[in-house]
């Protein structure tokens, strides 16, 4: 059974990672000094919240990444069945990739991929 081995692996992974934390919690002598929570050897202590506002320009990259991510997803089942479906599958995926390549070309020509 495939799922049993999967479950055993999952449990082993949880035990292995949680165990490490647990063991160190039990055996390490804690120090209550608040300095311990600060970033180590980074010069100046932080003054405001480290969660700074991002520049909106990053978002464009994230969006384009998402679109190509979804595109890649479609390649996976294609790769599995390309032998069975044959020539048609090759033509179909070529059209699909060509259309999306047009989009990539456009984004490149438009300069959307240039770092600001």
């Amino acid at each position: 059974m495939g799922s049993v081995s999967l479950i055993i692996l999952t449990i082993a992974a949880i035990v292995f990672s949680a165990g490490g934390i647990l063991v160190s919690k039990i055996f390490v002598k804690g120090s209550k000094n608040p300095r311990k929570g600060q970033p180590y050897e980074c010069g100046i202590p932080t003054e405001t919240s480290p969660w700074k506002q991002f520049h909106v320009g990053y978002y464009l990259f994230a969006l384009l990444f998402l679109i190509f991510d979804v595109e890649i997803i479609f390649l996976y089942p294609w790769a599995v069945v390309v032998k069975k479906v044959g020539m048609m599958a090759l033509v179909e995926i070529s059209i699909f990739l060509f259309i999306l390549f047009m989009g990539f070309l456009y984004a490149h020509k438009e300069g959307a991929l240039k770092w600001m």
Partner: protein
């Protein structure tokens, strides 16, 4: 299939022409030429000439009804770009992209007018909506445009989510995406409640897309906040396309489940609410643009009659209504965009300063109000006649006529301002070609008002 593939290709062409062509006027001519090619190819398909023979696995069915509407939508877009192209170019610096997105919207429209699979309905609606979210927010420096875009996107995504949920439930109940219910084992066992719930979800999301009350709340803000040209496009071609999808869906699925759910009563509530809210709120508007947003809700109420009565006359009527409403609204918006002031006062004395514009605008407004000798009269006539043919809920006809009378009030406020009030009637520079375009549009509307069969005959030949 011609129009679907070609509009996508033309979209890609427009996308790249923006990189190589710097002159915005040239871009407009390329878009117009593309639309013309698209129109011709679609009309060719109506006569049986297909460029591509694609095996669509019964997901699309190219019947006369859908193809005729495609022609109407592409033709209206052509007129829209011809009249308001210069205003598109003024919105921002991405003129080529705006045309690209309009072509992609047309791809979506040409899909949802011929779909027979719910999967294609979903894809078509999405391809139609996503470019619209962008076009709404294309005036990037304007906060109102940003707000409208975000609002439209959030509400639209939510309604699409409901649609997906509905499709899932229908799939779960029947095991197929097809809107046809023939040869379906589910019928033998009686209608499943899951399917009914799915249909209800689809009803809600489609009512949202056509901005029927009580799902209309996004409409005024979005139509008001979006750049005027794109409001014109959204309120006409896109709304009519959503109606075609609506009609196709309920035409195929409403009758057999009507033993369980009284769809007519549900639609009756939708129609009355839409007419009431659209017309009454439009009366109190000060800005013509916002008034037109509410009037588009009111007109949606009339178009919903086609979904309600669902007979041959309703199908003829919805196509004719789509033509007359789209053409008249495109005209009204084209004039509105030339005005310096979008309030009713801005129109004061327009008849003196720009007699051609004022006359054409009068004809468009009369057509929207449904006055005889204009296309709008026959559009409303077909809708009401189809309801009388069904023989149910006849009192709705009287209510609809009453609300049509209310609508005369706010349309005539504009006419009154143009002709009977003194003022500057300030406009932008008017190109003589623009006036010619308006006159041609006026002639078309009056011609259709005299001989509506010019369009309807295309359904049967």
């Amino acid at each position: 299939m011609n129009a679907i593939i070609l509009s996508a290709i033309l979209g890609v062409i427009m996308m790249f022409s923006g990189i190589w062509v710097n002159n915005k006027a040239t871009l407009r001519w390329i878009a117009l030429a593309g639309l013309l090619v698209l129109l011709i190819s679609n009309i060719a398909e109506m006569y049986g000439y297909r460029i591509w023979n694609v095996n669509v696995h019964n997901m699309l069915y190219f019947d006369r009804f859908g193809l005729l509407f495609n022609s109407v939508a592409i033709g209206s877009t052509f007129i829209f770009v011809a009249l308001s192209g210069s205003d598109i170019n003024r919105v921002g610096k991405y003129a080529a992209e705006y045309y690209t997105l309009i072509f992609f919207v047309l791809t979506g429209i040409t899909i949802i007018s011929v779909y027979t699979s719910l999967l294609m309905l979903f894809l078509g609606i999405e391809i139609m909506s996503i470019p619209l979210y962008i076009l709404t927010g294309s005036d990037k420096r304007n906060l109102k445009s940003n707000e409208a875009s975000l609002k439209y996107f959030l509400m639209g995504a939510f309604s699409t989510g409901l649609m997906l949920m509905g499709i899932t439930l229908i799939y779960g109940a029947t095991g197929s995406f097809s809107i046809e219910v023939l040869n379906n084992p589910a019928i033998a066992q009686g209608v499943s409640f899951l399917e009914i719930t799915g249909m209800l979800f689809l009803l809600v999301s489609m009512a949202f897309k056509v901005s029927a009350a009580p799902f209309h709340f996004w409409t005024p803000d979005v139509y008001d906040g979006a750049p005027g040209v794109f409001t014109s496009f959204m309120a006409t071609v896109v709304k009519a396309a959503a109606f075609i999808a609506f009609v196709k869906l309920f035409d195929a699925r409403m009758s057999y489940s009507s033993a369980v759910v009284d769809w007519k009563m549900l639609l009756c509530i939708l129609i009355i609410a839409t007419l009431l809210i659209g017309n009454i709120t439009a009366v109190f508007q000060q800005s013509v643009k916002r008034m037109l947003a509410y009037s588009s809700i009111a007109q949606a109420g009339f178009m919903l009659f086609a979904v309600f009565s669902m007979n041959e006359m309703a199908k003829e009527g919805i196509i004719f209504y789509a033509v007359s409403y789209s053409l008249a609204t495109i005209g009204v918006f084209a004039v509105l965009l030339k005005m310096k002031d979008f309030t009713f006062e801005g129109y004061n004395g327009l008849a003196k300063s720009q007699p051609v514009l004022a006359f054409a605008n009068t004809v468009f407004l009369l057509s929207l109000a449904g006055i005889p000798l204009t296309a709008g009269f026959f559009a409303k006539y077909f809708m009401l006649a189809s309801v009388i043919q069904t023989g149910h809920y006849l009192w709705m006809v009287i209510v609809a006529v009453l609300f049509a009378a209310v609508s005369v009030y706010y349309y005539f406020r504009v006419i009154q301002a143009m002709y009977f009030k003194t003022g500057e009637g300030e406009t932008e520079n008017i190109h003589p070609g623009f006036k010619t375009g308006l006159i041609i549009l006026t002639v078309i509307i009056i011609l259709l008002g005299v001989a509506p069969n010019l369009i309807i005959n295309f359904l049967y030949f």
